[in-house]
């Protein structure tokens, strides 16, 4: 086993490279490179590394299933149809349009996870707003922020949840009991915050042009059936403890087959829909975080969480805040893995349920503080501005702060109350 200092340098260096991405080094390459370096410096033997990755096979399957399912739904026009529905029900009111997109984003996030909303629904919302001649920003921010705020409605609503639950399991009942109320409160606060922050933009009515956009086609209808079915099976699978990765892949297969029956078979497209670079990123991060864990680099964090739990359930809001800050500093997937590692190495006597819930809230909702998920993106925006492009990182922080601080605080307080009730009930 090498010196903890060596491991620390590899871990911190890779993470910094991953966030700053100089010379357009993609983040997955930085993570994977760091993971390989962990093998080279002797933290892992090749055999151990492969075993470590194999242990997380369900997480990889989940990413594959999710990526293919949401890309298929996107191509089938399901998101276009949803945005079309939101625009049709808005009838000239921007507030209603934002509310409609908010609802669509919540449902898409719950079933297809945050990345589907942030990556696939957002451009669709952007196009829908542009078609109506509206400033797209409120709608882009709505999709982006709901992607995070709706991330703890279900375990499948954010892969970060799975990464945490893989290390510190929490049954669906325990998950829902602790997280459904904070989730709804966070969503409500986010909606109110968005309506308030963008009140000037949203106040202007718009001319409701008859849309030439897409309505529900037979292809998107098939996809809708698939996605609704997938959502139901997820809940069932989480309730009886089936591995969710396999469920996700099965759901993706069903969606692809349904789509192929309506629109024709495109096997190459399916291969391209697999989020290969994301798999590389996750594999690299697993080796990096696992290596740092072996070198006990997270001991201070474990100590801090242990101390928080010693305070009782009143410490939960502090844990939420700490995790939210970490998610903004090093992004949500690395934070989820680091937090999962720390939680799983807590002394066996510590009751983990509430701590897991607080971690999930912080890691999922926290990225909204900067609107777009990390300090690294802020730095990149500052760089863009220096090159003369009209973006303001401060704008993002302002919107993120105004919307998210109340959402985080309310969710944390609700969890604190629930944590108290649950521990009194025992």
């Amino acid at each position: 086993m090498p010196e903890p200092l060596t491991v620390g340098v590899v871990f911190a260096g890779s993470l910094a490279l991953l966030l700053v991405r100089p010379r357009r080094v993609p983040d997955w390459a930085a993570a994977l490179g760091g993971g390989l370096l962990m093998i080279l410096v002797g933290v892992w033997t090749l055999d151990q590394a492969l075993r470590q990755l194999a242990e997380s096979s369900d997480v990889f399957l989940f990413f594959v299933g999710l990526g293919v399912a949401s890309a298929t739904a996107d191509r089938a026009g399901l998101f276009d149809a949803a945005a079309h529905l939101a625009a049709a029900t808005a009838r000239g009111s921007q507030r209603r349009l934002l509310g409609g997109l908010f609802a669509v984003s919540t449902v898409v996030t719950a079933v297809l996870s945050n990345d589907a909303t942030a990556l696939l629904l957002t451009p669709v919302a952007f196009a829908a707003a542009s078609r109506l001649g509206l400033n797209p920003r409120p709608y882009v921010f709505t999709c982006a922020m709901v992607a995070n705020a709706a991330s703890f409605l279900l375990p499948v609503s954010n892969p970060a949840n799975l990464l945490i639950l893989a290390r510190v399991p929490l049954g669906l009942t325990a998950f829902t009991a602790r997280l459904i109320a904070p989730s709804l409160v966070a969503l409500g606060a986010t909606l109110v915050g968005l309506l308030w922050v963008f009140r000037n933009d949203l106040g202007a009515p718009y001319e409701d042009v008859p849309s030439s956009g897409p309505a529900l086609t037979s292809r998107s209808r098939a996809s809708l059936v698939g996605v609704v079915g997938l959502g139901a099976v997820y809940v069932l699978a989480a309730a009886i403890g089936w591995p969710l990765g396999r469920v996700a892949v099965t759901g993706a297969v069903v969606l692809v087959v349904l789509d192929a029956l309506v629109a024709g078979w495109e096997p190459l497209r399916v291969v391209r829909d697999v989020p290969w670079s994301l798999l590389g990123l996750v594999a690299g991060l697993l080796l990096l975080v696992g290596g740092a864990e072996q070198a006990s680099l997270f001991a201070p964090l474990v100590g801090a969480i242990d101390a928080t739990s010693a305070v009782g359930y009143a410490g939960l809001p502090a844990l939420v805040a700490g995790m939210a800050l970490m998610a903004n500093l090093i992004n949500n997937l690395p934070s989820a893995m680091v937090a999962a590692s720390a939680l799983s190495t807590l002394p066996a006597t510590v009751e983990r349920g509430n701590l897991v819930a607080a971690t999930i809230i912080g890691v999922n909702l926290g990225p909204n503080l900067t609107t777009i998920g990390s300090l690294a993106t802020m730095l990149w925006l500052v760089l863009l501005r220096r090159r003369g492009l009209q973006v303001s990182a401060l704008d993002y922080v302002r919107v993120g702060g105004l919307v998210t601080v109340p959402a985080l605080a309310l969710a944390a307080v609700v969890l604190w109350v629930i944590g108290g009730l649950l521990s009194h009930g025992q």
Binding site: P123, A127, S130, G203, L278
Partner: protein, 157 residues
């Protein structure tokens, strides 16, 4: 006719009729009119920034870029058709409207330079009822007032 007054009208919502109603009584009847609409490309930066914060997201896929551009052009054609109709209705000497893509203030000034416009007409703000004070003139109008190659007529909504 080199002495002809060239007036460039910047249109964004169904605003052409309203702009003309205010501007027309003020200017020479021999003017030549043209509409310009700018598709604001700045919002695309929001999408880029958002994707950068998400693990392994990469750039916006081509089909999403195409859909966004098509949506912008669809709106542009509606707006320019409304401007055209407003010109025709008043029997004005006119040229075909143009669509530009980019930062609105900068593009409006470039359009005015390209066409050697003698006067620019645009709304002071996107908001229908801006409160009096510094915010009653929007970013775009302020940029145009500062950088336009010709006089600017700002119309309060």
């Amino acid at each position: 006719m080199a002495s002809e007054v060239r007036i460039l009208v910047c249109v964004d919502g169904g605003s052409a009729g309203q702009l003309l109603a205010t501007a027309l009584p003020l200017v020479a009847s021999s003017a030549r009119w043209k509409a310009v609409h700018v598709i604001d490309a700045r919002g695309r930066l929001d999408l880029g920034a958002l994707r950068r914060g998400i693990g392994a997201a990469g750039p916006l896929p081509p089909h999403a870029v195409a859909a966004i551009e098509a949506a912008g052009r669809e709106h542009a054609s509606v707006v320019l058709a409304a401007a055209e109709a407003a010109f025709v209705e008043r029997g004005l000497l006119r040229e075909t409207g143009v669509v530009r893509i980019g930062e609105p203030g900068r593009e409006i000034c470039l359009a005015a330079t390209d066409w050697s416009a003698d006067l620019l007409v645009l709304r002071a703000s996107r908001h229908s009822r801006p409160e009096p004070g510094p915010r009653s003139v929007g970013h775009t109008a302020r940029f145009v007032v500062d950088h336009a190659p010709c006089p600017v007529l700002l119309i309060r909504s």
